[in-house]
Each structure stands twice: as C-alpha cells, then as structure tokens.
Symmetry: C2
Subunit: 285 residues, 2 copies
C-alpha cells in the first residue's frame, strides 16, 4: 500500500479501537495495529477510489474489514485452533496475555467491525450501511470465513486430504469471502456494480493463498514472522501438495492474469489494483 494510505488506515484504526485500558483494550489494539500487509484495507481504499467515494467513507470500510481479519487471526492462533505462538514476529495475543483475553479480544473486535459500519460517521447513507453490514456478515459468518475455518478443521481429521476442487472451495470461504467483500465495498459505497471487483478479488485471493502455500514450503520463518510447514506436518492438502511447486506457481500466474483482466473497464484508475495482483506472485512474506 502507498505509505500515505497505510498511515491513514493505521490512524483510523487507532481512533476507532478502544483507548488503552485494561487487558481487553490493550489486546484488541495489539491484535490489529501495526498489522501485516493490510491487503483488505488496500482493496477497500483502491476500489473506493475507482468510484470517487469520499476517503472518510472508504476508511470506515477498510477499518471494519481489518477488525474482522484481526479477530479471525487472534482466534485462529488459539491453542484449540492452530496453536501458534508467533504472528508477524511477535507473540500471539494468547501468549502475550492469556486465552480468555484472546477469546474476548477477538469477540470484541468482531463487534467493533459492525459498530464501525453502523455508525453514521462519514455520512454513509443508511441503505448503503445495511448493505455493507449484510455483506460483511455473510463474508465472515458460517457461510463465509468461519464456515471455511470449520471445513479446514474437519479436513484435519478426514480419512484423506482434500482434492483440488475441495481445497479451492474451502479457501474461497476461509480467506476469499472477506477479500471479496473488501474489494466490492468501494463499488457498494459508490453505488456501482460490484461484479468486476468481486471477480478480480476472487482470483486475487486464491493467488494470495497459493503464494502462501508456496512460501510455507520455501519461506524463511524469520522473514515470515510465524511458524511454517504446519500443513505438511499435519498432512493437510495445500496447493503445493496438490499441484507441485511448478504447478502451483503456474496456477497463481494464471489467476493474476485473470484478476487483471477483470479490471479492464476501469482503465488506468485501476493501476494500483493491478500492481497488487502482481505483488501476490512476488512477495517474500
């Protein structure tokens, strides 16, 4: 993300998160601030820019989706889930505090996402707000992100690893739905057809996941700031185990090309979104 945008997202999140108070408030801030690549916030801001949506409105959507993403990471890292001690090179929330605080901080971050979208700050029309909220709930809930997470857990104890179709469907839920919501949020705020951005984001999200699987095999835990090669250890299907390293790279390249093609109608205004697709292929962490 351009550094000016990244700074605006951090500042918005810092304002919307609770002030430092007890463990809950501190854990919520820790789980979201200075976090990662901000892919979802970037998509929300760039898609909004295509439709000349006021920046203050786009930042609401960006902050909301980063709160949902942050909550999902805190809960995913819990001992009962992926049991991870490190995230972005720092102790995970349940390691820095405790499990109860991590559960509650994740819970409250999800709530905050909906509070941000419901609030009239930014002057978003209430009809647009309820549409964004409904879409985010569908992307995050049992038929979206959490549904994908549940399928992923079920796959761990299944008799054999998932096939390519099932793995693709699982990732479309687990990570794709939220990425798609971020990319379409700008079109919804701009009262335009979200179709092309949804198609772009579906390809982009899958390319990102394939790159994650490649980095999980090839990457350096130091650079990644987290434990790697978990899926292999768990005997889980990944795009690398299903397609091989070269096959996975080819599939990611094809998806990035397809993602770019969906942006044709937006011309040069979609330049940053095209760059993001390319970044999905080349990133080292």
């Amino acid at each position: 993300m351009l550094s000016e945008s990244a700074a605006a997202v951090e500042a918005t999140l810092s304002d919307l998160l609770p002030p430092e108070g007890g463990a809950l408030e501190a854990a919520m801030r820790y789980g979201v601030l200075q976090g990662g690549k901000r892919l979802r916030a970037f998509l929300a801001l760039e898609s909004a820019a295509l439709f000349r949506v006021p920046r203050i409105q786009a930042l609401r959507a960006a902050a909301a989706v980063e709160c949902v993403h942050g909550y999902s990471l805190i809960h995913d890292d819990l001992p009962a889930m992926d049991d991870d001690d490190l995230r972005r090179g720092k102790p995970t929330v349940h390691r820095a505090w405790d499990e109860a605080t991590a559960i509650l901080a994740g819970d409250a971050l999800q709530t905050l996402a909906f509070e941000i979208l419901a609030s009239d700050h930014g002057g978003i029309d209430p009809r647009i707000r309820v549409r964004l909220i409904q879409g985010l709930a569908q992307a995050a809930g049992w038929h979206g992100m959490v549904g994908g997470q549940a399928l992923d857990i079920a796959a761990e104890t299944a008799a054999r690893p998932l096939d390519l179709e099932a793995t693709t469907a699982l990732q479309a839920l687990k990570t794709g739905a939220l990425i798609i919501w971020a990319a379409e949020s700008g079109a919804i705020l701009g009262r335009s057809d979200p179709g092309p951005l949804r198609a772009y984001a579906a390809d982009l999200g899958l390319a990102f996941q394939i790159r994650d699987d490649i980095l999980d095999v090839e990457g350096d835990p130091e650079t990644a700031g987290k434990r790697l090669r978990k899926d292999e250890a768990a005997g889980k299907a990944t795009f690398v185990s299903l397609l091989g390293l070269d096959g996975a790279r080819a599939r990611a390249r094809a998806l990035v090309a397809s993602a770019g093609a969906h942006l044709a109608a937006y011309g040069s205004a979609a330049g940053n979104l095209r760059l993001a697709a390319g970044f999905a292929l080349d990133r080292a962490a």
Copy 2:
C-alpha cells in the same frame, strides 16, 4: 413468556440458523435452540407490542439478541473462561463437540445476529436497522457485555473482592447492556423514546442478577441445570456476599418495584413486562 410467543421465537431462530450440516452448523443450533428462559426475546417482543410494531419485525430483534446471548454463553463456558461442563442440564458446546467448534460456533452466532438485523426481511426501515445494529454492537462489545466479562475475569485475580458499587457497574455491563438493548429495541422499531424501557430494563437486569446470586447459594444444581456455588469457591464478590441473603432479597425487591414504576406511562399494555419483573424475584432457576 406466553407459550405462543415462545414458539414463535423458536421457529424464527430455527429458520434463521443454518440448516443442519457439519459440526459448526449443528453446534450453532444446539447453542441457541430450546434455550433457557428467553428473557431477552420476551423483552424485545413485549416492548415492540407497546408500540404496535409488526410482529415479524419484533421477532428479528428477538432472534438477534438471542443469538448474541447464545454466543456469549458458548464462549463463557469454554475451559479458558468459566470451564463449565453443563448448561441447562445438557453438555456445553465444547463438551458436546470440542473447543475449536465452540469458539467458531460462538463467532458465527455473533455474526448471524448482525446479519439478521441488516437483512431487509420484515421491511424494517434501513435507518432503524442501522440504529438497532449500532446499539446492539455497543451493548455486546468492549464497552458492554464483553467489557463486563473482561472486568469479571480481572476481578478473579484482584487482591480483594469488588465492592458493591464496582459489582453493580460490572453487572450493568456484563448482563445489563444486552437486556437493556432487548427492552429498548421495540421502542426503536416503534420510533418512540426508549428511555422508560431502558430504565425498566436496567432495574430488571440487576434484579435478575441478584436473584442469580441468591439461587447460586440456595439453589439445587439439578433444578438449575448447571454447576452452582462457583463464585463462592472462587472468592468472588456477589450481591449475597456483599449484602447478605436478606439484604440481597430486599435489594432485588426494591429494584423490581422501581422497574415497575418506569412502566407507568404504558398502563395496562405493560402488564406482561410487570409480571416479568415479579418473576425475577420468585423464579427457582
């Protein structure tokens, strides 16, 4: 609740919850259906009736608040939180399935609550929907229910038990905020002043909590369907430890009288809400 209303709430929840599928969907249904006294749904329906709100709209609010309540119970029961094996006489969700499923089912139930309120089913004006969503988020999040839960956890490791003022403030967040939202939802749907219903529900919620503390000391685990005398074992302050049994009973009686007084303007239409306040004093479970 009148049995006709109780049946309508169960049917609405059953329709809105995911159909039986994998563990996630089954755990979500198990955590919410056939659940408890439905105090919050009752308050939503009765407050809506005062303002002649269409029943279909009131049932949306009732279902949403019961989803939030159900999610909070599933997460509260987790080993890292209260570590309870029984709820309403049945195994808790993490005992019937596992911890990961319980975390995800709670997460998805919270999401579902917001999805229910955002959806246009029932024809609720979008301006009313965003107001309900914002209020529910405030009641459920870090400055409401989850904030109270975090204070409750912090109190367990504090040097000494909380005093009466701090215990009252904690309960106002932990259980009061959601009960207040349920009671005011009908006024918001009816475009009327929620003030009197908020005041009624604040008193009622506290009276319910005091009765819970009394039942925790006097009650029969068989009738209650859950483990009792946990607070005493944990050395936590309760209204009974702070006021004594007689003092707690007197305080609950005074609150119920005060709750009823806030309903004066609604006359006989508020008869069921008055009965509910009385029930807070006399219930055995």
